[in-house]
Symmetry: C2
Subunit: 334 residues, 2 copies
């Protein structure tokens, strides 16, 4: 490991480059299509086509878990870069436009050819729960050569999403990125993303943690329990927290917790007038947490800004912030 | 003219088949790009590309003036058909999916080739005004052969948007549709769309009216004045109303009026907690008005349902209804 030079950008993230297709739905529709409410499932092109044909009128917004987190970080004034794979089709242009319009560096060359830009068909039920059906398309072909090692080395934090562990090529790319980041003395943040993702990759995730490659681990209640296969939240947190410098876990309306250097911090959920669509809650929580962390704030402030950013994004459709997050931060911290 | 047989569908509309690309903006951005606030301008591919690159992160939703009106009519239980031209690209698939998902018949064959599906780059300023920049792409190539005369004859009302008078081919197609509708004893509704459109086609529009080809004319305050080039609203209304059986005019916060068989009706604007984006206000007003009209309600009720539908659509981003319009109608009429 070389002596770290000062980082010139705050966060570089590697994630799925996805356009979200959001429609309202009811529970009967989920049941008819055998969809697992609240979860993310990967679907193939034929299933995507059929489900899209069956679902209601939709809106399209750029999405992707890590990309949503960067959208929040950029909105909070952080200097960010994104690495992810789109096709050179119309939805790829939408994704690239939106992330660049936020000021995020995004230079991954689009693919040509038959694998279209990834889409996530998101069904939002009246209880504001989102059920995600992801057609990965081009996103699963992010090659290791797309990892700009200079960019990785220049960023204080490398942020990775568990969702992208599913496809083989991006997984290899992320392993290369982790190596580059560690070699440059940078920190690595990782989000566990989803229980079913953990089921598919538990051994890998535990191995990354055991090797000390993860500095900041983002999770929700179910994920931290699933990771170590312990049904009790506090026991699961204790076990995972012993292995990572910073463990963060969101618990929906029960608030958010972090364990840093063995000390547990807890903050209640931020109030929301009406929860409309929970898509992006975890992503924006991570954005708020990291933004405050980069600003050198204490753990409780990090949790508070995370909770406030999550509260903003669940108050409307779509997983990217609509309100001015700086104003929300200033209201919190003065 | 043959004796009319009973209509089997309520409304068939011909309009631009557009995907809206909506971003927030400020007045300075409009000034820098020499954009005429509140209006619609046609832009070419190069301008569309440059403006898109400059504008902020966006959301995409299906739009198009007449198509938005059908979305409202379909939501209110009316049986509708749409004729409009998309390309067989991703945005064309989005447009087709969304209008079919609403239950609207849409069978216009997509174009192949280089003219992409139309996009409207909509900049919404903090005062909720929308400034529209339309790249017509495929939409301007709607051929007269796309007019399904059987469909036109089967519908009680043919609904046309003034915006589509700009491109030559759709204008010819609409003239053919008017002829088919009149021949079948159907009524023709027409919306004037925009002051600048009227400036370009005033003689044509007045000619259609003078020939008695328009049964229901939708307008806003500025448009009805522009049509007859009279600055006084009441005088302009009186002059136009003498030539069309039903004249309807919206006046933003000043409410809505209709003149039917020489009698003027007036209804105040429906209350809105927060006006977010005025895109689609006129389109949804027309939807509510026509839905109540088809149900055989009196003119005041038509105005009320129009105003209520408009109030719904301006309370959020995007020009298609999000709330349940049937519930809004039932709250009005019991």
């Amino acid at each position: 490991m070389t002596e770290p030079t000062p980082a010139t950008i705050d966060v570089v993230a590697i994630g799925n480059a996805i356009v979200d297709v959001i429609a309202r739905s009811d529970d009967a529709f989920l049941a008819q299509h055998a969809l697992n409410k609240g979860a993310m499932q990967l679907i193939d092109a034929a299933t995507a086509e059929q489900l899209y044909a069956d679902m209601g009128s939709a809106i399209e917004t750029s999405g992707g878990s890590a990309a949503n987190t960067l959208a929040g970080l950029a909105a909070l004034g952080k200097n960010c870069g994104f690495i992810g794979q789109v096709n050179d089709d119309q939805l790829g242009a939408v994704f690239a436009h939106d992330i660049r319009a936020l000021g995020v560096r995004f230079a991954t060359a689009p693919l040509s050819g038959d694998e279209p830009t990834a889409r996530c068909l998101i069904l939002v039920t009246p209880d504001a729960q989102r059920t995600m059906n992801t057609f990965l398309g081009a996103s699963q072909y992010l090659p290791a050569t797309a990892i700009d090692a200079d960019l990785i080395r220049s960023a204080g934090i490398l942020y990775l999403e568990g969702y992208l562990w599913d496809p083989q090529q991006p997984r290899a790319a992320m392993r290369a990125a982790i190596a580059a980041a560690r070699d440059a003395g940078r920190r690595v943040a990782f989000t566990l993303s989803d229980n079913f993702v953990i089921d598919r990759h538990r051994a890998d995730f535990l191995d990354l943690i055991d090797q000390g490659l993860i500095d900041i681990l983002f999770s929700n209640e179910g994920e931290v329990q699933s990771l170590v296969q312990i049904d009790d939240f506090d026991a699961a947190v204790a076990q995972v927290a012993a292995k990572v410098p910073v463990l963060v876990s969101t618990r929906s309306e029960k608030g958010v917790i972090a364990v840093v250097d063995g000390i547990r911090y807890e903050v209640p959920a931020a109030p929301v007038a009406q929860v409309v669509d929970t898509t992006g809650a975890g992503d924006l929580f991570a954005a708020g947490f990291l933004a405050a962390h980069i600003d050198g704030r204490g753990v409780e402030d990090c949790l508070k800004l995370g909770a406030a950013a999550a509260a903003e994004v669940i108050s409307h459709y779509g997983a990217r912030p609509e309100a001015d997050l700086n104003r929300i931060r200033d209201a919190l911290f003065g």
